[in-house]
């Protein structure tokens, strides 16, 4: 009720921009583990309200999903709710919001602020949970400095015991075990900008101190998080029709964290090449990315035990934009493990507009896990999923 009031009160005082969607989602699963659910259907809604004046702005986003097959996936949440004070060369924000960092397409090792909404879809990182934060951004000529204090102490959800993505067999404990208090804030300082020399380079460098983005699970299915200090960078270089991307984060995990966790480096590099108008108005994008997770101490945690999905993986992808009145687009690709697990993850998505306001989105995924090692995919088993999503946008 309080959340509803928070969402509605600005309507009485301000003129608001609003946008969002309502939609339906239908999924079919083919699971190696036959006791798991073989279909699901849900309705969803998202509404974003924004108000802006010259010196301040306000934004809130409400998310709703009702899954008729799985109660634990159902939620209604004010995912963003923040005020921003605008100064001539800086902005100061306070509240809950989704904050993105990174350059790569499939996964962003540096994107540590707003955690993925695993309960909504563990295979799709577009869905994020807003973090409570105080954010200061200062803007120079070609450079920006960001200082942020934020909190991410929210337990992950992986569905009920029949969910194909719940590898624990029972619902996870929703309490989170933290090295310090759950209210211990994380801080982040970042410098980013554009170097405009012979070729354009968008760069970002930063440091952070606080709860690490990775978590482990204890025997009683509590989630455990620990403190680390990390440095990170993400960069995009544009050269002719090609974008070259590099993203990396090095984390120094607290020795006394009791997490049995090594220091680590998580990095990725990618190339994106675009061919415009290959046939009539059709554009084709070719994407290649590589991801690597390296533990630095070799004492405790392996990538398998940390459930790192892309620890030594290559992504090959293709994006085909038809550029017709329906904005039809096809995106497909495969992620494959180049070490001895040989795990493969195939993805194909087709989407397009119907009647200017309805968006039809069909996606297909097929995962082939390791047969010799215990990994996150091997616990899920061989898995195929098809999703049909229809959304009405307003």
């Amino acid at each position: 009720m309080i959340k509803l009031i928070l969402l509605l009160f600005p309507i009485f005082g301000f003129s608001l921009d609003f946008q969002g969607f309502i939609g339906t989602e239908y999924r079919i699963f083919d699971n190696e583990n036959s006791i798991k659910r073989d279909s699901s259907k849900a309705i969803e809604a998202n509404i974003e309200l924004k108000h802006r004046q010259s010196e301040y702005s306000y934004a809130t986003t409400a998310d709703f999903l009702k899954d008729y097959s799985e109660d634990s996936r159902t939620y209604a949440r004010i995912n963003e709710f923040y005020f921003t004070k605008h100064f001539e060369n800086s902005d100061f924000s306070l509240g809950r919001r989704v904050y993105f960092m990174g350059a790569l397409e499939v996964l962003n090792p540096v994107d540590i602020v707003s955690r993925q909404n695993f309960g909504r879809d563990p295979l799709d990182d577009r869905y994020r949970i807003g973090s409570y934060m105080a954010l200061y951004e200062h803007y120079g000529e070609d450079m920006q400095i960001t200082l942020m204090g934020y909190a991410t102490q929210r337990a992950d959800e992986f569905g009920d015991s029949l969910s194909p993505y719940n590898v624990f067999g029972v619902e996870l404990n929703k309490k989170i075990e933290s090295q310090n208090s759950n209210n211990y804030p994380s801080v982040m300082l970042k410098v980013q900008g554009t170097l405009d020399i012979d070729y354009a380079l968008d760069y970002a460098f930063g440091v952070s101190r606080g709860y690490d983005n990775q978590r482990t699970f204890t025997e009683n299915l509590k989630q455990k998080q620990w403190l680390s200090t990390s440095a990170f960078t993400y960069n995009t270089l544009a050269y002719e029709n090609t974008l070259y991307k590099l993203e990396a984060r090095i984390a120094d995990v607290d020795e006394n964290s009791d997490a049995n966790m090594d220091d680590y480096i998580y990095w990725g590099a990618g190339v994106e090449y675009t061919l415009a108008a290959v046939y009539e108005s059709i554009d084709v994008g070719i994407l290649t990315e590589y991801y690597n997770w390296i533990r630095l101490d070799n004492k405790y945690s392996s990538a398998d035990s940390m459930m790192i999905l892309m620890q030594n993986d290559v992504f090959l992808g293709l994006r085909v934009a038809i550029n017709n009145t329906s904005s039809t687009e096809f995106v497909g690709g495969v992620i494959f493990d180049v070490d001895d697990t040989r795990e493969q993850n195939y993805y194909l998505q087709a989407k397009g507009r119907i009647f200017d306001t309805l968006m039809l989105d069909i996606d297909f995924r097929h995962m082939i896990p390791s047969r010799d090692r215990v990994t996150m995919l091997s616990l899920i088993g061989e898995h195929t999923r098809a999703t049909i999503n229809i959304r009405y946008y307003f």
Partner: protein, 246 residues
């Protein structure tokens, strides 16, 4: 007698004009807007006449080495608040970023090849960028026919989607009336009609453009409304900061 002399001299002057000189005159009547704000409605028609609409807020800042522009999409609703920021550079590749509101992400776009379709329309990014004269090599010969000067120009950018363009310019006002675009195979690809010119703060601005693809029979009409010039915009209004705040 004096009027006749002026007329003869004017005609002689026009006949003697080179392509470059016509382009200089064209720039003179359309340049100097400093900055602009407008709402554009873009209607896409397929070969069967079925239409689809896009609506955008557009701002542009004139620059010595290239214009800066921001396009914020209002419709269709699924792309509302998506914004495109472009820094044109006459001497090197443009800088271009897109803001994707659903992902809260600003993403750089490789902008070397500008021949791609803009939002599924018959306009390419190249068509919507500045048309200043130093982006083209002009043929010296100018043909005058039915009060129209016909000029041929070739884009200097080797990544242009066009082998040449034929520009039709009104002999009195020096406003561009029509442009024919030839593809890399040197075949006529598209034809643009510039309609409904009006003067805003002493600068001529077109009210709409109709672009027809001769080869596919598709066409797109852009209707410009509520255009204002010299609004006092500056470089700060064309940054990634404002891209995210649309």
């Amino acid at each position: 007698m004096r009027s006749l002399l002026v007329l003869v001299l004017s005609a002689f002057s026009l006949m003697a004009m080179s392509g470059n000189e016509v382009a200089l005159k064209v720039d003179a009547v359309t340049d100097g807007f400093i900055d602009s704000k407008s709402i554009s409605t873009m209607t896409l028609f397929n070969a069967n006449g079925v239409s689809s609409q896009r609506k955008m807020r557009m701002t542009r800042l004139e620059g010595e080495v290239g214009d800066r522009s921001m396009i914020v999409f209002e419709a269709p609703s699924d792309i509302k608040s998506t914004a495109l920021l472009t820094y044109e550079h006459f001497d090197k590749d443009d800088d271009q970023w897109i803001y994707l509101p659903a992902l809260k992400r600003v993403k750089r776009i490789a902008s070397k090849n500008k021949s791609g379709s803009f939002m599924g329309s018959e306009f390419s990014y190249e068509d919507l960028s500045s048309q200043k004269r130093f982006k083209y090599n002009y043929k010296e010969d100018v043909v005058e026919k039915d009060n129209t000067l016909i000029v041929q120009r070739v884009p200097k950018d080797k990544y242009s989607g066009y082998s040449k363009q034929i520009v039709y310019v009104d002999v009195k006002s020096f406003l561009v009336q029509k442009v024919e675009y030839y593809d890399r195979k040197k075949e006529l690809l598209k034809r643009a009609l510039f309609i409904d010119y009006k003067k805003i703060k002493d600068i001529w601005r077109f009210g709409s453009i109709e672009m027809e693809n001769i080869q596919t029979k598709k066409r797109t009409v852009i209707l410009v409304s509520d255009e204002t010039l010299k609004n006092g915009l500056n470089k700060k209004d064309f940054t990634k900061r404002y891209l995210k705040q649309q």
